[in-house]
Subunit: 374 residues, 2 copies
């Protein structure tokens, strides 16, 4: 059996290991918290710091392959491992490029991939040079995740809110739709693409409220979305699984917002909604199996369960029984003991051939199921 490791033990690792159950593979997880959602589902749990060179190198040196749950890992150790023959998904060059927002934007520009206009800012003071650039979005070069490290700046009066560290300042786009496409790339460079997903965001938390797959898109937008996503992947030249997040505007322009070089929240519906889920697919890549079928079994909606404002402590799931009684829904709770405001605690997928049923139930679940503390 191949030995394959995951850096990080959160819900992405948890669902990856759930999919690994179908295949013969010896699994390893490194993570600081021995009670993390994925910690008990692997053959070998190693307590360690994924940002620390020694820990990552020691973890990886006897493995056949390694993947990540989060970009903020020690890439120098991964580079050493890659040179020594351990396969890293995504490859380290790609990981380094994506984990830094400045490099990522420069990559789009270099390869003429449509993206919002931007400038690089070294510190907060530097933003004074770009008064005509607002409204804009300020994004930290390093360490942003799940809405952290992102700040909307409407005018120069709000420069105080900006990051005083290397960052990119992106012109704000008048977004009509937020779209995500998941693509898998095999070891020989072969690709498969999932149907696009329409993401509806909660503007307060910058967290997904619900998503619909397949997205209903104007035909022109649909073709652009697929063509752009595939061209991004072609330029990256890395095996693995990728989420390409895009915006469309009223003029049917499409812009790449960002890439995640890993399984992604916008692909969770594929567990029930598609023949091969994003998690199944990554194992196929890493085990050198043929890529799976990305086709939709039934259209889906997905609702994230986010820790409620004002609730911090041991989690309880208010309304859970009601949602478990809904006949075409699939509840996924991540097994995190503690909730806190904005924390991702689970998700619910709804399958239906009727879009109205998807929307009705997605909204009902959002109103019904709440993560509180005891």
């Amino acid at each position: 059996m191949k030995k394959i490791g995951i850096l990080g033990g959160g819900q992405l690792g948890r669902m990856l290991l759930q999919a690994a159950v179908n295949y013969p593979v010896e699994t390893f997880v490194m993570e600081n918290d021995p009670e993390a959602p994925a910690a008990h589902l692997c053959h070998h749990f190693i307590k360690g710091d994924i940002t620390r060179h020694e820990d990552v190198y020691a973890f990886g040196k006897n493995l056949d392959a390694l993947t990540i749950e989060i970009e903020h890992v020690n890439t120098d150790a991964l580079e050493k491992l890659e040179m020594e023959g351990v396969k890293i998904y995504p490859n380290v060059r790609t990981l380094k490029l994506i984990k830094n927002k400045i490099y990522q934007k420069e990559f789009y520009r270099e390869h003429q991939i449509p993206t919002s206009d931007f400038v690089v800012t070294e510190n907060r003071e530097a933003l004074r040079l770009y008064n005509d650039f607002f409204p804009a979005v300020h994004k930290l070069a390093n360490g942003g995740y799940d809405g952290r490290g992102v700040q909307i700046i409407n005018s120069e009066n709000e420069i105080e809110k900006c990051f005083d560290a290397p960052a990119v300042l992106e012109k704000k786009i008048d977004i009509r739709q937020e779209i995500s496409v998941i693509i898998a790339v095999g070891n020989a460079g072969e690709t498969v693409i999932y149907p696009p997903v329409d993401m509806v965001f909660d503007q307060n938390l910058n967290l997904l409220s619900y998503q619909i797959s397949p997205a209903e898109l104007p035909e022109k937008v649909f073709w652009k979305v697929e063509a752009i996503a595939l061209s991004v992947i072609k330029k990256l030249q890395s095996p693995g699984i990728f989420a390409i997040e895009m915006f469309s505007d009223a003029e049917e322009n499409v812009y790449v917002n960002e890439i995640a070089p890993r399984v992604h929240n916008s692909g969770h519906h594929t567990i029930e909604g598609n023949y091969s889920s994003q998690f199944d697919m990554l194992w196929r890549v890493m085990l050198d199996y043929p890529l799976g079928n990305t086709q939709t079994i039934l259209p889906s909606a997905l609702v994230n369960l986010i820790g409620e404002e004002g609730h911090k402590g041991v989690a309880v799931y208010d309304g859970l029984h009601q949602v478990l009684s809904m006949e075409n829904t699939f509840v996924h709770l991540y097994g995190k003991k503690e909730t806190r405001p904005g924390r991702k605690m689970g998700h619910v997928t709804i399958l239906s051939s009727e879009k109205q049923d998807l929307l009705y139930k997605a909204n009902k679940i959002r109103r019904t199921l709440r993560v509180l503390n005891v």
Copy 2:
């Protein structure tokens, strides 16, 4: 989080734990082999003998609930645990009844549940009294499993092949179809029933070759199957999940063959084919959640992967890449290092709305994918 244990760590435990990933539950497995298919997927693995009183009692005494993967467990220890308040799925009275083939047949007779005619035989010699009973099937009262402990006897000349131990001798039925129905029973006695499954057996190994769900049944047989399955469950009076295996004959009579008081091979297709799988369903029962939806998402076929004759040792899966390339199939390998003739090594589920597609692919998979040794 509730603490729930599984006695046994084979593929049933493995798929149960895969389904548990969706819910907040602390999981325990007791099993002798620390490399068993389910051993690495629980929070707490306890090495122990599931037939030994002390081991089972020590394992269960701090748990909220317990279930089984196989009937051959120490029921005296479970009885003590049940009296002390640990919930056992199925309850111990039911487990004792079902694990003994004599009690099981007498239960059918007592409750007028249609079943093949039978006599109880204390030893091999006793069969001489029933020369007019052949052709018949001799089944060991205790310890039979997966085709072991079952012997077809065509005439009195074959009495030598019979078991020299307490057993039942059942009149052989001229089987037209073998049908299985899975039913879940909640803690308040509420039931849900899955669509019936048509099972096609390999007569040599007495192992399932493939199964189709939902079964195509004559209307009269369909209603009988459902009514009989529900009446069996009503008489058993136990929460849990049950497979009721039945035969139909050319006259459209339906007979109960046997009951499994647990998740069962004939329900593996529910992982992809039904909204709530049999594994999901048992967690719902044990966690006191509402029962799930048994409806079919798409019709399915299921092929078991059985260790090939003449192959014993470290397993390899010949033809695996071809089957992984089939676009509507789901491969489940149980992660057993060693294969041996007749060992259950995995299964493949096919989803399709076209019955011809199901049959074509089921047969293709049977020819293509073989479990050999290296």
